[in-house]
């Protein structure tokens, strides 16, 4: 079932459209920046954008910061919300279950396919934006001085290319985890309804609610547990030395979300009457 599910996902036009759009937005920004050379001043605009003009190698980080708040959650919500509810509304759920595919196995396959989707999404954005960034902005002036491809971290120290690669890899993993947490919630919502849009909108409502509560001082007590709370912690990876504290908290909370949401999905789905 797991292999079948992955194959099914890769054959869905919708999935490829999501990936294409995710990669297109940063590319569009890169083209505009390169054409106008009007970078936003440091501290305004998206993270890293001001530094990008000087060195294209930082563009993947800028691109991730661009898609993270809205674009990425939307695509995750669409794919995860569709996971079970989509099969239910198409009627294929009952045929899968009588094939038979065990209900736990079905859920696990769906979660895994969501995980692969988010990982590939983040990787694709990183890879294409690296290419676009380097093509548009070059390797930066530091290349001549501080050795090949050396770039400045947010704290000013110079990062080696290997260092940058490592930090980018951790970023990809961290963001994939954050999005997987959202995807697991989407999977849970998807078992509650037979309508994929309802599940998708539920996930987006959660994101919006999180973003709305986060800046409120009154919500400080629950702030660390909001789904969106630690989404920006990865920016600390580009400081020198790396500030791990927020990242660690983020990993714990997001992994907690995955576990709790998957547990809830299983609890609901295991004994659910399939009347779709």
């Amino acid at each position: 079932m797991i292999a079948v599910e992955l194959r099914m996902m890769l054959r869905r036009p919708r999935v490829w459209l999501c990936w294409a759009l995710l990669c297109a937005l940063p590319a569009l920004v890169a083209v505009l920046l390169a054409a106008t050379r009007l970078a936003p001043p440091p501290g305004r605009g998206g993270a890293f954008l001001s530094a990008v003009v000087a060195n294209g190698q930082l563009f993947p980080a800028a691109a991730l910061a661009l898609v993270l708040p809205v674009f990425l959650p939307i695509t995750v919500a669409i794919v995860a919300g569709d996971a079970v509810a989509g099969e239910a509304s198409a009627g294929t759920l009952r045929y899968l279950l009588v094939r038979p595919v065990g209900r736990l196995r079905l859920l696990a396959a769906k979660l895994l396919s969501v995980a692969v989707f988010v990982l590939l999404a983040v990787l694709l954005v990183t890879a294409t934006s690296y290419g676009v960034g380097v093509a548009a902005f070059g390797f930066g002036p530091d290349a001549a001085v501080g050795g090949a491809g050396g770039i400045a971290s947010l704290s000013g120290a110079v990062l080696t290319p290997f260092d940058l690669l490592l930090r980018t890899a951790i970023t990809v993993g961290y963001l994939a985890l954050c999005m997987l947490a959202l995807g697991a919630v989407g999977l849970f919502f998807s078992t509650l309804t037979d309508s994929p849009p309802a599940a998708t909108l539920g996930v987006l409502a959660l994101v919006v609610a999180g973003a709305a509560l986060q800046p409120l001082d009154a919500a400080a007590a629950i702030e660390p547990f909001l789904p969106t709370a630690h989404w920006l912690a990865w920016i600390d990876l580009y400081r020198d030395p790396i500030l791990w504290e927020d990242l660690r908290a983020g990993i714990e909370v997001q992994a907690g979300y995955v576990l709790v949401a998957f547990g809830a999905a299983w609890a609901n789905f295991a004994t659910k009457d399939i009347t779709s």
Partner: protein
């Protein structure tokens, strides 16, 4: 009704099976026995609980109370053992619209037990055979979303046949098929049944059940109100329908045994059409047609199921009802 249940194993046996959805009781303490090897027709108006019963047998819906055994093992506990031996069509066929029919069957087959491993080698052959059987061998790469209703129905039946099931559970299998398609599928089900597959089909079309099944169950408002062999159900009524060009003579000869006369058709109280024929011919009455009257399935249904529960479907044509196939002699 299932006195023979002891000798032949039951493929389906339910015991006080009940399902409530909130306040609605969809299936109400049903005790159903279906012996192996029969062609069973589950009849009843729409909303009488047929589909819920089928879903429970397949482990999709969990019973509120009662127990059931399918292929001799309790469900849904032994679903992993039972379900691979069942081919099912539930309510309507369904497929992934963006894939071709062939890709649909391959993925569905791969999703089940055996997955991409053990059974992989014969998958291609199995899929082709199933498509061949339902008359879709020549389908191209068009996505299912472009299929007609009839093609989808055939694809759904092909999916049910994929793993050479011991038991076929088909809910309204001829929906959307034209008369030729219905005839083809009936022949296919009969052929599979001859090879040992038990066929259970639920329908509200009496003609379909009458033409295919050897045994019928009737549901009404969630209850199983009848489960009997079709032959017994349609037993002769002890009357004979006689068509003759000499009705007046016939009435005189038969002396009081004629119950009704309408034109040249007489309804005669008589158990033996052959003896009646001999008597008439001996007395110079010419006989155009003679047949033992049988209860039609439609009559049975009308007597058993609640009035007005589903008038639209019940009124649909039942070719067997008007002229039951009895012996016709000249």
């Amino acid at each position: 009704m299932s006195v023979d249940g002891a000798a032949i194993t039951d493929v389906i046996a339910t015991d006080g099976l009940t399902k409530r959805f909130g306040r609605v009781t969809a299936v109400d303490s049903v005790d159903l026995r279906i012996p192996e090897g029969v062609r069973f027709g589950l009849l009843g108006p729409n909303g009488s609980g047929k589909t819920t019963l089928v879903r429970m047998l397949l482990g999709l819906v969990h019973p509120t109370s009662g127990a059931m055994e399918v292929l001799g093992r309790s469900m849904p506990r032994h679903a992993a053992w039972v379900l691979p031996q069942i081919g099912a069509l539930v309510e309507s066929p369904a497929a992934w619209g963006h894939l071709s029919g062939r890709a649909n069957l391959r993925l569905l087959d791969a999703a089940g037990p055996g997955g991409l491993g053990r059974l992989r080698r014969d998958r291609r052959a199995r899929v082709e055979q199933a498509l061949e059987r339902v008359g879709l061998a020549g389908i191209d790469r068009r996505p299912v979303r472009a299929y007609s209703l009839g093609m989808r129905q055939r694809l759904g039946i092909a999916a049910a046949l994929l793993r050479a099931p011991r038991l076929l559970l088909l809910d309204e299998p001829t929906n959307g098929l034209d008369p030729r398609g219905i005839h083809e599928m009936r022949a296919l089900f009969t052929e599979l049944n001859d090879a040992g597959t038990t066929v259970v089909l639920s329908s509200h079309l009496l003609s379909e059940v009458e033409a295919l099944c050897t045994r019928v169950g009737v549901m009404d408002a969630g209850r199983l109100v009848l489960s009997q062999d079709l032959d017994a159900l349609r037993a002769p009524t002890g009357r004979v329908l006689l068509r003759t060009p000499d009705p007046a003579t016939a009435v005189a000869v038969l002396d009081g045994r004629v119950e009704r006369r309408s034109g040249d058709v007489l309804t005669v109280r008589h158990d033996d059409p052959a003896a009646l024929n001999a008597q008439l011919v001996a007395n110079g009455v010419r006989v155009s047609a003679l047949e033992a009257q049988r209860r039609s399935l439609e009559q049975v249904m009308l007597e058993l199921t609640g009035a007005g529960a589903d008038r639209v479907d019940r009124g649909r044509g039942t070719p067997g009802a008007g002229a039951p196939a009895g012996e016709v002699r000249r």
